[in-house]
């Protein structure tokens, strides 16, 4: 019964979001696209953080490499977007495999330090390798042609691009959700609760952590691959550590304990950003203050706090 209600609500939400362009002003289509992409980015981060219990400060590396892969493929090879996105995911996956291989070898404290360090390394390489990445200007000037798979989509129209993003993000999120509900996902959760005990059961904890890291990197690559055409540029900002701070904050804002927490947090984050940056440029300062307050007082996030409160009233 409860599941049916939740499914119905989500279906209604999907319908309302899909036809958003027919009743909302243009500006909100851009905001909604950004929320969806950031939501997927944050949800992929939460597979490592909320489900596996490892705090990564370098997740933008995979988002960024997905974005650069998409921009470069569109610029030089004019591939259909579908294949571009697949290759963006592959790029995120490969980079996560390499970085993850080193980062999962020690405990959480080392993991946090190493992910930040390797994230900064990726940024430095992207920033300095001018012949490929065009340095601080980034890769721009590419055109969106066709989606592929025989679908006739006018991708240059932001409304169409938004609807395509919505469908892809929903499908990807469904895949992520199924992963978290699978025996594999349950094992990740067991690792986050007590890695030592899981190891005693004869499970190779390191391998599962690495797999979780690689899956997260793959979906972050997809989010980045969709973000670069939306933003019309792939630039070093996408790889910078402040970009890595965003999924952390979105997840904490929404609540790491719920699958939909990061999406909810992304919505709050993007709306706050749109609002605060009209007043001040010191957006990161606000982020830091909000993050500190959430961690100290509302560790379960906005969604988690609300749900706790509702459940207690029942």
């Amino acid at each position: 019964m409860r599941n049916a209600i939740i499914a119905l609500i989500l279906l209604a939400l999907f319908a309302a979001l899909f036809w958003l362009p027919s009743y909302a002003p243009y500006f909100y289509i851009f905001v909604a696209t950004e929320i969806l992409l950031m939501g997927l980015f944050a949800a992929s981060f939460n597979l490592i953080f909320g489900y596996t219990g490892m705090l990564s400060f370098g997740h933008a590396a995979f988002f960024g490499i997905g974005g650069y892969t998409a921009a470069l493929l569109l610029l030089h090879f004019q591939l259909p977007l579908f294949w571009v996105l697949l290759l963006s995911m592959l790029a995120g996956m490969l980079l996560a495999a390499v970085i993850g291989f080193f980062c999962v070898r020690l405990d959480e404290v080392y993991f946090a330090m190493l992910t930040l360090a390797f994230g900064m390394m990726t940024y430095a390489v992207v920033h300095q390798w001018r012949s490929l990445t065009n340095g601080s200007d980034g890769v721009a000037g590419f055109a969106l042609r066709e989606f592929g798979l025989g679908l006739d989509l006018q991708l240059a129209d932001p409304a169409v691009y938004y609807q395509m993003v919505l469908v892809i993000v929903v499908l990807a999120s469904l895949a992520l959700y199924l992963i978290t509900r699978s025996p594999f996902g349950l094992l990740l959760r067991a690792i986050s609760e007590n890695a030592e005990r899981v190891a005693f059961c004869g499970i190779n904890v390191r391998r599962y952590r690495l797999l979780s890291f690689i899956i997260a990197g793959t979906f972050a690559g997809l989010a980045g691959g969709l973000f670069a055409p939306f933003n019309r540029v792939a630039n070093p900002d996408m790889v910078h550590w402040t970009e890595s701070a965003q999924p952390v904050l979105m997840t904490i804002l929404g609540g790491a304990g719920y699958f939909l927490g990061p999406y909810f947090g992304a919505a709050v984050f993007v709306l706050l950003e749109t609002w605060i940056t009209t007043y001040t440029e010191q957006w990161m300062l606000f982020l830091g203050v909000i993050l500190a307050i959430m961690v100290i007082f509302f560790r379960r996030g906005i969604l988690g706090t609300i749900l706790d409160w509702l459940l207690r009233r029942q």
Partner: protein, 288 residues
């Protein structure tokens, strides 16, 4: 030969300065169990305060060497008492998140107060120019940096082995509950250690101010370097921190001179090698 010697000195200078910063990070981790992501920000604050006192305020360099680290240490006491204290006893990710939040706040506050441009501090009179004492020309100020770092190292060693306060801190690092039981005021020790680490980071910032470009990105770079140092050397080990700092200093100095196109990734390659061959660090203990 001369270029080899110059690179060696350069590596020593970078490494010793890094040691002063990374050892503070390490001491804080040892007692609080917290990796302070904002540690680079405290270093940066030391440098910016020097700029304000010396280049803006017209003060000589020497009072700034005392005042700036003191101010940062006081700030650290406030941060520890008001912010960090809330998450002791919680899972380690909470303290990581909290110091990461402090990193965001300090970075943007610096941008707001001092702007995004590069600021300059000139070395104090007597330490300007170069000397040829070793047969080739080398900046006088670099020798001063090495001297300060070695003095800090010696003072730390004496403090932790010869004084009561040093032994109390070591006791609190080994077993917090037992230390509390035998009457050590552990919360006070924690505050003191956090302030000491911050003081050292800021001191390094003051000393670095006249020879490095002061900009809002300097804290990020130094925290990554400090992480590489503790990964190479091993968390919880003083000799390890020194070894890690010197290794990284040499990588920068010799890499910059002989392999400039790889200089950017060489530190990470070094770190990756240590992780593969000796994951607990050159001199670290196994942490699990």
């Amino acid at each position: 030969m001369e270029s080899f010697l110059a690179a060696l000195l350069n590596g020593l200078e970078i490494g010793l300065l890094l040691f002063v910063i990374a050892v503070g990070l390490n001491i804080i981790f040892g007692v609080l169990g917290v990796i302070n992501f904002a540690h680079g920000g405290l270093y940066m604050l030391g440098a910016y305060l020097t700029y304000t006192l010396v280049s803006r305020g017209g003060l000589p360099f020497w009072p700034a060497l005392l005042l700036a680290p003191l101010a940062v240490a006081i700030l650290a006491i406030v941060l520890e008492r008001l912010v960090l204290r809330h998450v002791y006893g919680r899972h380690v990710t909470d303290s990581l998140l909290l110091t990461f939040a402090l990193l965001l706040i300090i970075d943007d506050a610096v941008r707001m107060i001092w702007g995004s441009g590069i600021q300059v501090v000139t070395p104090p009179p007597g330490l300007r120019g170069a000397t040829s004492a070793l047969g080739f020309s080398y900046p006088v100020y670099s020798f001063f940096v090495m001297g300060v770092a070695i003095a800090v190292m010696a003072a730390l060693w004496l403090f932790f082995t010869r004084t009561r306060a040093g032994r109390v801190i070591r006791a609190a690092a080994i077993d917090r509950d037992m230390a509390q039981t035998i009457g050590i005021n552990v919360p006070l020790v924690i505050t003191g250690v956090f302030a000491l680490g911050a003081w050292m980071a800021a001191l390094a910032g003051v000393v670095a101010a006249p020879m490095r470009a002061i900009n809002p990105g300097m804290g990020d770079r130094i925290i990554i370097d400090s992480f590489i140092v503790v990964v190479i050397g091993g968390l919880g080990s003083f000799p390890g921190t020194l070894a890690g700092a010197l290794v990284l200093g040499m990588i920068y100095a010799f890499g910059g001179r002989f392999l400039p196109e790889l200089n950017l990734v060489l530190p990470y390659i070094g770190m990756a090698l240590v992780l593969l061959l000796r994951p607990q660090g050159l001199m670290g203990r196994r942490t699990g």
